[in-house]
Amino acid sequence: MLRAALREVSTALKEGRVSPTELCQRCLSLIKTTKFLNAYITVTEDTALRQAEESEKRYRRGQSLGDLDGIPVAVKDNFSTAGIETTCASNMLKGYIPPYNATVVQKLLDQGAVLIGKTNLDEFAMGSGSTDGIFGPVRNPWSYSRQYKEKCGQNSRLENEDSSWLIAGGSSGGSAAAVSSFTCFAALGSDTGGSTRNPAAHCGVVGLKPTYGLVSRHGLIPLVNSMDVPGILTRCVDDAATVLGVLAGHDPKDSTTVQDPFNPFELPSVIDVSKFCIGIPKEYHIPGLSSETLAVWSKAADLFENAGARVIEVSLPHTCYSIVCYHVLCTAEVASNMARFDGLEYGHRSNIDKSTESMYAATRREGFNDVVRGRILSGNYFLLKQNYEKYFIKAQKVRRLIANDFVNVFNSGVDVLLTPTTLRDAVPYVEFIKEDNRTRSAQDDIFTQAANMSGLPAVSIPTALSEKGLPIGLQFVGHAFQELQLLTVAKWFEKQAKFPILQLQEMLDHADALSHQKISLFS
């Protein structure tokens, strides 16, 4: 049951084959078993059970609120949740309990969804590994999969376990790991440069970044306001469409959401891709791309071609400037957005109180990690009067060129772009931390951040397993506000790819070894 897709479990709930409380308890139980993944910062057991109970009453009265009623979901810990601690994995917000719900959280709850917990991330979503938060790194569930163990030929898993586990990708690694390890049926991530798609690719789940302006950011603690989009992590494309249908639409509390009404859609069950034109951007064929991922990418293109789709090579000529440009704009907004954390109104406040200024300085030094402080520093540098033209204005201009690259390609008749999501499959934590956060982010966001710069919708689809038995994801980028088309193509591809399901028995054994608890959730 837990391995089912959201749609399937929703049907089961409607038919009374499972009750919301039972479902919730099973998820909570599995969260406990898989605690070592560190996917959750807060598990909201009590409220979840209460919500499940409410849902159960509705089902009994025959007044279900819809497809999400009674469905356990997880939310990244940078979305405000009323009465529930929201930390951004930072000392700065440890203990901070928001008095209001983010619009997307409220929409989930209004549909009867059961909020099961708040998921782990890089501090303030700054990172690509979910390794840089105060609650420690998220472990990729695939580290404990039969597929990985078999391919790696590791029999002596207990001896090696602490060095062999893999990063989940980030910054929404907790949400991706939660969906991937079956502890919830959908999760919210946030996506500023790839933070939903990257961990989706590494954890073998679907990660959707909707068009900027389609989904409200109200209550999402910002990284880069002009690029942040709430992301959706699910086990299949249909589920992503269902959740999008609930979240999308104008929000009077977010002036950057579009006013046009959004019509929730269901994806067709029979899809003919021969009418679509798939673009393959040649600039995405870069030296760092692993041969396996390249092979998967080529195979995918062939798949479309063989099905009668037009597959053409296209050019996004400003791609190579994208990551630098992203860095300037991102840090500038970070510097600005982080200015509010001064210890006065909420969050951490230092004991040093010699003067207001010294209190600010100490609070911010104690509250933020090196990554956050580094970005604040560089962002403020770029915004200085003497540098503003040289860096910020220039980066804005380049951003426009990058966005225009996409416009030009789409105007030439391309419906959807097909690219890798990441350079390669997930790497072990010990490998990952050899590089600093900035270098890692620059490498890992390479295929994803351009969609944020241009506001376009993009989705990562789990495609194949690498030689090591780890997920490889491919990314589709669509026209602005054409999520229906994007997800239709993605759904067709998902069906062809037949990505294998995560074999978790190993993980549960691992859990058993850790906790000596006997569970039989998958019988």
Partner: protein, 511 residues
């Protein structure tokens, strides 16, 4: 021109200094809620009782622009003959301060809502302040922005207390070009702006409540030379202090330069107790505000009749032409009308507008009385206003309402009472005992003696008792007639119409 400066010119007439004064005025927008949040706007409320999650900068909250604030700024821009930008932008201005919760203020640095306007203002000069001088000041820009909260420092306990009630209240910053040259001009320009804002209702502009705050940029230079280094005198909150602060600062700079000193580009504050400007303790020195576009607010787009998209109602967008058509008469227009309609002096039209509610009061009185408005104006301005000033009352607080003053003037006009009796009654009315003028006249027996034969007899009796004076008049000394009139007045307890008395006496003397 103020006296200090005039004196100064006497001493240094060789190379006169020319003062240059520009103003930045922050006017709180008169709206029910704040500019980017739904919190209420109120002057007096318990600390931190009008604070939304956005005002306290809770993470994840976003600004939502208040339409009313935009309309107020457009109205003000139009009234100041500005060009209204159909597209304007919001920016973040960063600085750390305890009463600025987000660490930045949302303002309009790059592209403000209105630019290039003009304000004409008039002030009185001359020994009797009877000569009117009219000048212009260019309006550089009007920008929308957020107000900050308030910090209360408790030095004894070395604590700072923050009240965020004001944080996020909408402000219009009006920037005036340095076209003024003394305190009187600066004060007159601000006064005219204040009247315009109050007429429009775009700001209540009550300086004592901080709804209108003025920063003055002051420098001095020799004509023909570049402008001198300027200082900024911040947060002046009364017109009187504005005039004093500017004049003090001009003189201070001139003296400094004459003594071989230099002027620092600094921020100063006006100490109203000492009557001088002093440097503000600015620990951080020159600030770099690190301006950045506000990413959470799309460009502010305004429409006019031409650009208004079809099928979009006036409620969904802000239509400049719609606002223009509904602008009320501005103070300058009202003054011209008053002079033309009632034949009053221009300076009286200024007084009528300067006192809140006085114009309406005057027009009400005129409507209810047969007296010529030219005479009414004297009663309103010299008499009534004089009494109000004496009791430190505003027109709205006047114990005499317009109807009651009209009644009184009608009694005078119908010669029921004399002018001096009318003044006496008005004085009594101002005590606010709630009596009508007629009751008062009856009570004090102030009616003029209307009976001709009664007056005739009184005059006869006075003449008989003062034969010497009668002889003198008959001998040709006409001045003595006034003494006789006075004697009759005394005999009637001032209830005789002096004109009538004169006629009777003259007739009798010539017999």
């Amino acid at each position: 021109m103020h006296t200090n400066y005039m004196l100064f010119l006497l001493f240094f007439s060789v190379a006169p200094w020319r003062p240059v004064v520009g103003l930045e005025i922050h006017a709180q927008i008169n709206s029910n809620s704040k500019i980017f949040s739904g919190s209420q706007v109120q002057f007096i409320a318990p600390p931190n009782s009008l604070v939304s999650f956005f005002d306290a900068s809770l993470p994840g909250t976003l600004p939502v622009l208040n339409r009313r604030c935009v309309e107020a700024a457009v109205m003000t821009g139009l009234a100041l003959s500005c060009s209204i930008n159909k597209k304007s932008l919001f920016d973040r201005k960063h600085y750390f301060y305890a009463d600025l919760p987000a660490g930045y203020q949302i303002t309009q640095q790059r592209l403000p809502i209105a630019v290039n306007g003009n304000l004409s203002y008039t002030f009185c000069v001359g020994a009797k302040q009877s000569q009117l001088v009219t000048k212009n000041v260019r309006i550089k820009r009007i920008q929308l922005e957020q107000d900050s909260g308030k910090s209360l420092h408790n030095d004894a306990r070395s604590q700072t207390l923050i009240d965020l009630n004001r944080a996020g209240v909408g402000l219009m910053e009006v920037v005036m070009e340095p076209d003024m040259c003394c305190g009187v001009e600066a004060a007159a320009a601000v006064r005219e702006l204040q009247l315009i804002l109050q007429t429009l209702g775009s700001s209540q502009a009550i300086m004592a409540e901080g709804q209108l705050r003025v920063d003055a940029n002051v420098s001095v230079h020799h004509p023909g030379e570049p402008y001198g280094v300027r200082t900024e005198v911040k947060n002046i909150n009364s017109l009187r202090f504005l005039a004093k602060a500017v004049d003090y600062e001009i003189q201070r700079q001139i003296e400094e330069l004459e003594n071989g000193g230099t002027i620092l580009n600094e921020t100063r504050t006006f100490d109203y107790k000492l009557g001088c400007t002093i440097p503000m303790r600015d620990k951080e020195g020159k600030q770099d505000y690190r301006f950045m576009p506000e990413p959470n607010l799309p460009p502010l787009i305004l429409y006019d009749a031409k650009s208004l998209p079809a099928n979009i109602g006036d409620q969904q967008v802000v239509n400049i032409d719609w606002i223009q058509e509904r602008l009320p008469d501005l103070p300058s227009v009202k003054r011209v009308r008053l002079v033309e309609q009632y034949g009053i002096l221009p300076e009286h039209s200024f007084t009528l507008l300067n006192e809140d509610g006085l114009m309406e009061f005057f027009e009400d009185v005129v409507r209810e009385t047969q007296m010529n408005p030219k005479k009414v104006i004297g009663w309103v301005i010299s008499e009534l206003l004089g009494h109000l000033k004496q009791y430190d009352l505003t027109v709205k607080e006047s114990p005499v309402n317009s109807l009651s003053l009209a009644d009184l003037l009608n009694l005078l006009e119908r010669r029921v009472i004399s002018s001096s009796a009318a003044k006496q009654v008005l004085k009594e009315l101002c005590k606010g005992e709630g009596k009508t003028p007629l009751q008062m006249v009856k009570e004090k027996q102030l009616e003029l003696i209307q009976n001709q034969s009664e007056l005739d007899q009184i005059c006869q009796a006075v003449m008989e008792r003062h034969q010497e004076e009668v002889m003198e008049i008959k001998a040709g000394n006409r001045k003595v007639l006034n003494k006789l009139i006075g004697l009759v007045q005394r005999a009637t307890e001032r209830r005789a119409d002096p004109i009538l008395v004169k006629q009777i006496l003259e007739k009798k003397l010539s017999q």
